[in-house]
C-alpha cells in the first residue's frame, strides 16, 4: 500500500511539474510527457502489471486536467505501458540506451493512438506534418530526458548495491 501511495504521489508531482513547466520555461513549445516517461521506465524495469496500474492512474490524473475523470489518456497510457513492458527483463541495466529508445517509440505510439481516438483529429489531421513537426521532436525530447533520468537512477542504484557512499 505504501509503495502505491508513494508512486501515486510521484505521479501527482510529475503532473504538477508538467502543468507548470511552461511557467518556468515560457519559450518551450513542446511539453514533455513526464508521466509517460515515468510509466515507460517502470514498465521496462518492473514489468507489465506495475506499469499498467501507474499508466492508468497517470492517464486518469492527466484526463482530469483536460476533460473529465475518464478521457483518452487513461486507455492510451495503459496500452502503451503494456507494450513497453514487453522489453522488461530483456536487456542489461547497463545498457543506458534501451530506456530512452523505449520512451522514444512509446511517445510516437502514444501520440498517434491518441490522435486516432480523438474524433476531431482523426480525419482532419495531416499526420505526416504532425509527425514531422510535433511527434518526432517530442519523442526525441522525451528520450533525452529519459536518458538523464535513467542515468541518475542507474548510478544511484549501483551506489546502493555496492554499499559505498
Amino acid at each position: 500500500m505504501k509503495k502505491y501511495l508513494l508512486n501515486i504521489s510521484v505521479l501527482v508531482f510529475l503532473l504538477i511539474f508538467q502543468l507548470t513547466i511552461a511557467m518556468f520555461f515560457p519559450a518551450l513549445n513542446l511539453i514533455p510527457d513526464f508521466i509517460l516517461i515515468y510509466v515507460v521506465i517502470r514498465a521496462v524495469i518492473y514489468g507489465a502489471k506495475d506499469a499498467m496500474i501507474y499508466g492508468a492512474v497517470g492517464g486518469l490524473l492527466q484526463d482530469v486536467f483536460i476533460t473529465s475523470f475518464i478521457g483518452l489518456f487513461t486507455p492510451v497510457k495503459t496500452a502503451v505501458a503494456f507494450l513497453a513492458a514487453l522489453l522488461s527483463g530483456r536487456f542489461f541495466p547497463e545498457n543506458l540506451l534501451i530506456p530512452p529508445l523505449a520512451v522514444f517509440l512509446a511517445t510516437i505510439v502514444h501520440e498517434l493512438v491518441y490522435l486516432m481516438l480523438k474524433e476531431n483529429y482523426l480525419f482532419a489531421a495531416n499526420y505526416l506534418t504532425l509527425i514531422k513537426e510535433i511527434i518526432l521532436p517530442l519523442a526525441a525530447f522525451n528520450a533525452l530526458i529519459t536518458f538523464f533520468v535513467y542515468l541518475i537512477y542507474f548510478f544511484w542504484g549501483r551506489r546502493d548495491l555496492s554499499g559505498q557512499a
Binding site: Q18, I31, D33, G47, V64, F65, T67, T74, F82
Partner: protein, 311 residues
C-alpha cells in the same frame, strides 16, 4: 518470444477490462455522478498546490527582478508617478465627458450599453498535453464562474471559454484549441461578413475562418470580432487579423487564415465575463431590427404616398 507469467496476464487482463469499461463510458458519454465527484475531488486537491507553486515561482521571480533592477525600478517609479498625475487629470476630464454622454443618451433615449461584469484571474497552469490547448486559472465556482463563460485578455482579445470549474480554479479552453469554434464578423464599415473561426490546434499556426460567402468582401488586414450570433460569446470581442484569403469548397465559399491577437501577448492574467446574457442581447438586437424595419416601412410608405401624390 516474450515470457509473461500467468499472474501478470491475469492482472493485465483485469486492468484492460477496467480501462475498456472506462473507455466505453467515455465514448458513450454516460455521466456517472461518482466519477464526476472523483474528478472534482482530484481537481480540487491538485489545483491549490498549483496555486502555491504559481505564487512561489512568482515571488522568486519578483525577488530576483527587483534585486537585479533596482535602478530601473526607481526610474520606473518616477515615470509612473508622472504618468499617474497626467492620468488623474485625464480621469477628471473624462468624468465630465461621461456625465455629458449620459445626459445626451437620456435626452436621445438611447439604450445603455451593457457593461459586462468581469473578474480578473491569474493563469496558474498550462495544458498537460500538446494536443489540448487549455489553461488553468485561479478562480472557480466559489467566485461565481460557470461553464462556457467567455474569457478575454486585459486588452480585450478573446482568449477562450470556461470548460470546467473547480472550487477555486477553472479550466479554460483556448481559442487555439482544435475543438474551439466561434462566430466571427469582419469589423469594417463597408463589410460585415460573417464566418466561423476555428482553432488550428497549434500555437505556431493561424486559426481558420471558414464558411465565408463566396462573394464576401474580405481582405488581408481586416480585423475579426466575435459576431455574437451564438449564445456563447458577446458581440464585439477582438479575435484576430486576416492574414490571407483563399477560395474553399471548389469556389462555393471562402476561408481565411486569422492571426490571433492573443499571440501578441503573454498569457499571464485573463478576465472572465461573468454576466453575459445572450437573451438580453438578442432582445435588444430584435428590438433594434424591428425599429429599423418600422423605420424602413414608414419611409417606404412615405415614398409611396409621395409618389401617389405626384401621380
Amino acid at each position: 518470444m516474450f515470457n509473461i507469467n500467468s499472474d501478470t496476464l491475469i492482472a493485465a487482463a483485469l486492468i484492460i477490462l477496467i480501462v475498456l469499461f472506462f473507455t466505453f463510458l467515455y465514448f458513450t458519454g454516460i455521466d456517472l455522478p461518482i466519477f464526476n465527484w472523483l474528478s472534482d475531488l482530484i481537481y480540487n486537491i491538485i489545483t491549490p498546490v498549483l496555486n502555491l507553486v504559481h505564487q512561489f515561482v512568482e515571488s522568486i521571480q519578483n525577488f530576483f527582478n527587483t534585486l537585479f533592477s533596482i535602478d530601473e525600478v526607481n526610474q520606473e517609479i518616477k515615470d509612473l508617478k508622472q504618468k499617474n498625475s497626467i492620468l488623474e487629470r485625464q480621469i477628471l476630464f473624462l468624468e465630465n465627458i461621461n456625465r455629458e454622454n449620459e445626459r445626451l443618451r437620456r435626452l436621445l433615449d438611447f439604450k445603455e450599453k451593457v457593461d459586462y461584469q468581469m473578474i480578473g484571474a491569474e493563469v496558474i497552469a498550462n495544458s498537460p498535453s500538446i494536443w489540448e490547448k487549455t489553461i488553468t486559472i485561479n478562480r472557480g465556482s466559489r467566485d461565481g464562474l460557470e461553464k462556457r463563460m467567455p474569457v478575454i485578455s486585459y486588452q480585450g482579445y478573446l482568449v477562450g471559454r470556461i470548460e470546467n470549474t473547480g472550487l477555486s480554479s477553472a479550466q479554460v479552453r483556448l481559442i487555439t484549441d482544435h475543438d474551439f469554434v466561434v462566430g466571427g464578423i469582419i469589423a469594417r464599415t463597408d463589410s460585415r461578413e460573417i464566418g466561423l473561426v476555428k482553432g488550428s490546434g497549434r500555437d505556431d499556426q493561424p486559426n481558420i475562418m471558414d464558411n465565408i460567402a463566396w462573394d464576401a468582401d474580405i481582405e488581408s488586414g481586416d480585423i475579426i470580432l466575435t459576431s455574437g450570433l451564438s449564445n456563447n460569446f458577446p458581440a464585439g470581442l477582438k479575435i484576430g487579423e486576416v492574414a490571407n484569403v483563399e477560395t474553399d469548397n471548389y469556389g462555393l465559399s471562402q476561408k481565411a487564415n486569422i492571426n490571433l491577437l492573443m499571440h501578441q501577448i503573454t498569457l499571464e492574467e485573463v478576465m472572465v465575463i461573468k454576466n453575459f446574457n445572450h437573451k438580453n442581447n438578442i432582445q435588444n438586437n430584435e428590438l433594434e431590427n424591428e425599429a429599423e424595419i418600422n423605420d424602413n416601412e414608414e419611409s417606404e410608405n412615405n415614398d409611396g404616398n409621395a409618389e401617389s401624390e405626384n401621380i
